[in-house]
Amino acid sequence: MNNITATQTARRPLSDIDLRAVAPFVALAALLVFGALINPNFLGLDNLTNVATRSAFIAIIAVGATFVISAGGLDLSVGSMAAFVAGTMILFLNSGAVSGDTGMIAAAMLMALATGALCGLANGLITTLGRIEPFIVTLGTMGIFRALTIYLAEGGSIAIKSQELRAAYRPIYFGDVLGVPIPVIVILAVGIIGAFIFYRTRFGRHVTAVGSNEDVARYSGISVNRVRTLTYVIQGLCVAIAVLVYVPRLGAATPTTGLLWELQAITAVVIGGTALRGGVGRIWGTICGALILEVVGNIMVLSDLVSEYLIGAVQGAIIIIAMLIQRSLGRR
């Protein structure tokens, strides 16, 4: 990989566009049409903003997962980590360590970001220095983060105690700027920054290099362990950013917070066109994948076609069909 690719990727002629990169967007468009046919309320502005806003958690976490997976790693701990970061953040908010609501929230946000980065660093260091499969490491930390959260909550939930603080923080999820919900703006910001790091920096190219062939990357002078560890730190930061948006929604961390988010995030990444074996990553595809997952769930509730017992089966089928469409586009 040499330095001209970085500037050239953005200005390719239309005929050169990789159909696989476009495929997730085609699948999303198809789903939107399908949804509109099933229930006219689906295309209502309220419903669409609801769905886009709800997809924020998975979308933001999945951007981090794109880095980890592209570098040939895997992080199963993100859901539990989200619960843990949310729990500690709320406990900090309840401690009243900083006076003034705005100052308190800002301090808590910084603390959450630091906690997320440290959790990611732990995953990264254990994986690289301990030379253990990331699947096992993050399966372990998944249990640890979940248990710590339940321990902190004494088996119940951790809620923001001060109603004023809750009211002051609430707009981060429910507010909007010029009609665009704040969580959607956060998705876009994370996407832009993520895409910049991934496609336009040396680190980003190292990530794909490590993911496609570790040995070649090492012989090219890339510090494989450092790159891998950093992807886990980015993942931790993304989890923390998702938590910053999650906490103001219901104002609490519960034992069900973040349950199965890891699977949803990995699914979003794969639907988006990133290879699970590493080496290829698509940031915007990932965000589109997260939207697809949320839209599928939304359509299921809005339609009266499917028994509530069969929703899981239909969701699974739609995801597989979306992947098949993508594959057939890629072969052309």
Binding site: A153, E154, G155, G156, S157, L250, T256, G297, V301, E308
Partner: protein, 315 residues
Amino acid sequence: MKAIFAGLAALALASVATMAGAQDKKVHIAVSIPAADHGWTGGVVYHAERAKKTLEARYPGLKITVKTSPDGASQANALEDLTAQGIDALVTLPHNSDELTDPIRQVKEKGTFVTVVDRALSDRSIQDLYVAGNNPELGRVAGEYIKKELGGKGDVVVIRGLPIVIDEERQKGFDEGIKGSEIKVLDRQFGNWSRDDAFKVMQDYLAKYKKIDAVWCQDDDMAVGVLEAIQQAKRTDIKFVVGGAGMKDMIKRVADGDSMIPVDVLYPPAMIATAMELTAGNFYDQVPVRGSYILDATLVTKENAKEFYFPDSPF
């Protein structure tokens, strides 16, 4: 009330006098319950730990081991491990009745006293004592309240828990409660007893239906998500939400006269403590306890809410 206290005191004195030695009798009770995977089971774990402390302090010879398991298969393993330690009694809230009936039967065959909580076994002859809330009644009480409050006519949406027997029984009870009225159930979807999922489902209901009179979500954790979704949509057509279980935040809303949460239907996680108390009583106090002990699905209203408010509980 005084008379009862006097009677109890006399009984206590009598038992202290006659059975001073009996208090030191060595008894090992194992408690096997699901891990705290949502608010209600969190409450179960809390009350099990609390009951362990009080009971061990009351009976010096008593040893209680509380073991939580994340799923049915690991609970079966936990039962084997606990039995291997040599136990006199087992108090268990099984993840799944069908799956755990045989593992519990094996415990029983070793001569262990078996107390089953909340979820009855497929073969009821195994359990010496059965302590539970009343699931069909929880649905029926909620249904009847909604029928009465809406004047026998209106549109209701339902959020279900998980597809297991408990949820099925509650749904049937609810249908029975609204029977004979013009209450229309617009939709039933699973919210998995999770705040986040209930929030999503409620948002989708609000997009789908332009007029909803009341929401029945059978669980207080889910009610939190439902209320948040209604508040966000600024909808005023929904008159009230009926949850269930008896979470402290919801009981407080009822006590404060919140118009959105006018009532709650009781299904207390503290039933595990009831079961442990009765089991310990079987060994130390020679009181007959075998049989079924079904707690009421009490309708909590503004008037009686104080009785059911535990500010220190995590649930």
